[in-house]
Point group: C2
Chain length 395, copies 2
Amino acid sequence: MTWLDLPTGDPFGLHNLPYGACARGLLVRVGSWAFDLTGAEAAGLVDAGGTLQARRLNPFLAGGRPLWTSVRRRLVELLTDPRHRAAVEPLLSPVDQVALELPFDVADYVDFYSSQEHATNLGRLLRPDQAPLLPNWKHLPIGYHGRAGTVVVSGTGIVRPCGQRATPDGPVFGPSVRLDIEAEVGFVIGVPSELGAPLSTADLIEHVFGAVLVNDWSARDIQAWEYQPLGPFLGKSFATSVSPWVVPLDALAAAKVAAPAQDPPVRPYLTEADRYGYDIRLEVRWNGTVVSHPPFAGLYWTPAQQLAHLTVNGASVRTGDLYASGTVSGPARDQVGSFMELTWGGTEPVTLADGSTRDFLADGDTVTIAASAPGPDGSVVGLGEVTGRIRPAAG
Amino acid sequence: MTWLDLPTGDPFGLHNLPYGACARGLLVRVGSWAFDLTGAEAAGLVDAGGTLQARRLNPFLAGGRPLWTSVRRRLVELLTDPRHRAAVEPLLSPVDQVALELPFDVADYVDFYSSQEHATNLGRLLRPDQAPLLPNWKHLPIGYHGRAGTVVVSGTGIVRPCGQRATPDGPVFGPSVRLDIEAEVGFVIGVPSELGAPLSTADLIEHVFGAVLVNDWSARDIQAWEYQPLGPFLGKSFATSVSPWVVPLDALAAAKVAAPAQDPPVRPYLTEADRYGYDIRLEVRWNGTVVSHPPFAGLYWTPAQQLAHLTVNGASVRTGDLYASGTVSGPARDQVGSFMELTWGGTEPVTLADGSTRDFLADGDTVTIAASAPGPDGSVVGLGEVTGRIRPAAG
């Protein structure tokens, strides 16, 4: 349908069209090409009210659904109608030749804890003497605020953090020895809300623009020592990586699936007239070896419930807010989203393709989280990947 | 010394000169006057490289110490030398006729927990079966990330948040019934740091621009139910109020006092060649009745230690980051910075001047936190105040 030479089944076909950014401005991805949106608007090919003349997506995100829809429609037109080919082609670059940047400025970053399997696994590992799931877990989507200023784009090197950790001889300071990942999916707010005015689960579609993949790097030893009573801080705040392409919710419409039933029943503000998750299938690669396939569809708390909960106390959301699902873990060992779970607290090391074994991350290791989802008419929607390589601790 | 008609001992004399913002631009306060900095720069009276042509202080904060010093020096000159009077006078407005706004855009907001007395009191109240101070508390400044997007300027109405709270019959949803304050002092980052490059305790003076008063409103019932295992979330995220005037560290130089000795000794990254706190004296007024005088000078962890800890894992700071001390509580009951402590979990209500009694906040209540510190030559540096009135829950 497009005049571009796209392979059949390309996960970045016209049904996807995710947005990104580079030093020159904003981009949309089609196949293996990055289309220069900023240039296209400057040339009069797209009219987005000037919101594409920016280094980050925020002004476009703030434009809201009518703008998102009209730009998406126009992009399909430009890439379909051969009369536009001569104007569009000079604005295409091979995607692997573009240095992608953080696609949006992150306002607030919230991380949830929405996988029952993950919460149960961590409960078993960290509090073996208690019921693994805490009493509040099935009543509300547990979450906390992370550090927005250290959200980095995929490919950014991850310096092993230093910090305090507990030992039998008391706390010691040094590089983390239990460096881990958390494979997650994050949602990006486009349209802000007012302070004091909670959003409902039905408001998702008007306020959320799209999704990215998230790796919430975690130093388990630092986290374990610091987290009582105010939660994770330095164990997480050194870096959170996100994929460079923001996939619009529009592209994920065909990936909607029924979310797990909830028992006990949730409070009215968490109910959903149309309860669904997204059938986003993650893949975790550790130095190239596929070690896990976390299933996003199985999360107990949906993105709509997370949004309603986040604002039920009157907190507002802003353009560029990122809220992530928390670690996506399924019931099987090869479906977990953290190495803490994969190696069961480091007690059951995994063997990688090169024959080496791992409990937690070693310096020089690369972790890539990739994902895709069903698209319309049997197509596949690519969410791309988020990758990072561990650098030795500083000093 | 100034040609302005300032009362002797005015806490906003030339030794203070705190910065603020209104819809027309940036301001500096002198006595009861707000001086239009944006207008002054536009008129060529001050040269700040254009950083004063903004709605918020961030570009000026990013300018760093040389800029802060030169602007401060120039302001003293303008307000001292009578030859400038004719040019400056038209740029002065009575401060009570200016609608003050949030002085800076908040990047990340971190809240520490630096008062030993507060941490001990909360431990006694919340975990009566355990040692009140957790094992990690004296080894590192405990902190967590709060919501930057709901930091509001003093005077903003505070809508009572709704949320879930635990009852003997299970969790219920509704307006918080244990709405509280936290009286704190916050520090504002001017100069950013690089990801992966920790700051030392000695870096405070180059990176931190100044201080504000903070009221971190807290719904204790929501917080108690949600906070395990990831810390406070909706119990805090509905609103955090800050004072409208950012007092430069330069104005607090005379308020430096020795900070409490630390035992056990701290890790090297938390040591200070010149260990000091600031003798900032807070006053908490509940519907006009002074109920407490929290002493900032007594905090166990200093602002310099907080900054070093915040970045020791490689996390960067950005212009506009706000990090607050945590509730300031002294050893006496009339020195505590929260009503949870003042009324001992609501069990010992206080009587206000009008004869009414309170455990936690009632709708319509107003809380004002004011503060001052010693200035040079026996003067007083005013930090102004942060105030807020409780509005009924929505719906």
